[in-house]
Symmetry: C2
Subunit: 161 residues, 2 copies
DNA sequence: GTCGCTGCAAAGTCTTTGCAGAGAG
DNA sequence: CTCTCTGCAAAGACTTTGCAGCGAC
């Protein structure tokens, strides 16, 4: 269904992520704690764009004994964002959502009915963006694009509205 | 310097905006108040992407006698946004910025050094977005794109950093 | 052992809401 | 006149911070 997900690579990918994270911590004299590991793991395995609150909920559900505080979630997300291991998205609604940034660059298409976020990449647009940036005299650092629309599922259930 | 700004059209454009706004209010049994007019006027004349707070400041500066409250600014912006007369942008940082939506569609390139926002449109990307959306089975409603980089001015003063 | 990390609760931001008087239609 | 708006202040939502004990190294 989704050509971009290759399950056979997940473990390898996650292990790399984890060791990158450990390295990052070591380089900065920070400690590798269970809470930090769990946050990374949840971000990785959930494959979703999570709000800090949703992430916190998920952690309490999967690892209830840890009794992780929301403050730790915020602190770790900030840490990960500063280190560019995760990216934050703020689409209109209140609050941010986070996703792992280790994945390849991609853009988002958001269903305005059900809120689902789908990812995509288009090489043609990528190149065009680069050109526009240069034409305007900028040095490009990053970019993001969102399309808002109604997904196939919601189109079909549209009659109920 | 900016090919997209045509000063001869500004008054006409603003008057249209204003009468659209009055019509909108009338259609919904709402009242046309000085505060609402001033908010629209400031949004129009400032040509910038304003935060509610910045807008409030600007209003207090230009129309100190009105003593406009921040709550009114928020209420009016929500009203304008619902009616699609303004668009809100949320680029990473806390809080939203607003811009008049009556202008033609455009995207944004943001300088990560000085925060300046430049607008642009690229027909090629527009069309590509449409195609992608269709390919993914979505019905497109709107879209937004942001490029982050370093503007020409900041590149030159980069040495000071 | 040391020094950073964590949970808790308190403090900050930004935004929304309730209310009584002011003002548009 | 009526009914919506407004400013004010209080309440909410989300995020950050201070602190004392806990745990990684």
């Amino acid at each position: 269904m989704n050509a971009y997900t290759d399950f056979t690579e997940r473990t390898v990918e996650y292990n790399k992520l984890l060791s990158d994270f450990k390295q990052l911590l070591k380089d900065n004299g920070l400690k590798f704690t269970i809470q930090r590991e769990v946050i990374l793991e949840m971000l990785y395995s959930s494959d979703e764009h999570l709000t800090p609150e949703a992430l916190h909920h998920l952690i309490q559900e999967k690892h209830p004994t840890l009794n992780t505080g929301i403050a730790t979630v915020y602190r770790t997300l900030s840490l990960l964002e500063e280190s560019e291991m995760v990216t934050s998205l703020s689409f209109g609604a209140q609050g941010k959502k986070y996703e792992l940034g280790a994945k390849d660059h991609h853009d988002h298409i958001i269903c305005t009915e059900c809120g689902t976020i789908t990812e995509f990449v288009d090489e043609q647009i990528e190149q065009r963006q680069k050109k526009i940036t240069e034409d305007l005299g900028f040095i490009m650092q990053e970019h993001s694009m969102q399309i808002y629309g109604i997904c196939e599922t919601c189109q079909h259930s549209q009659t109920t509205k």
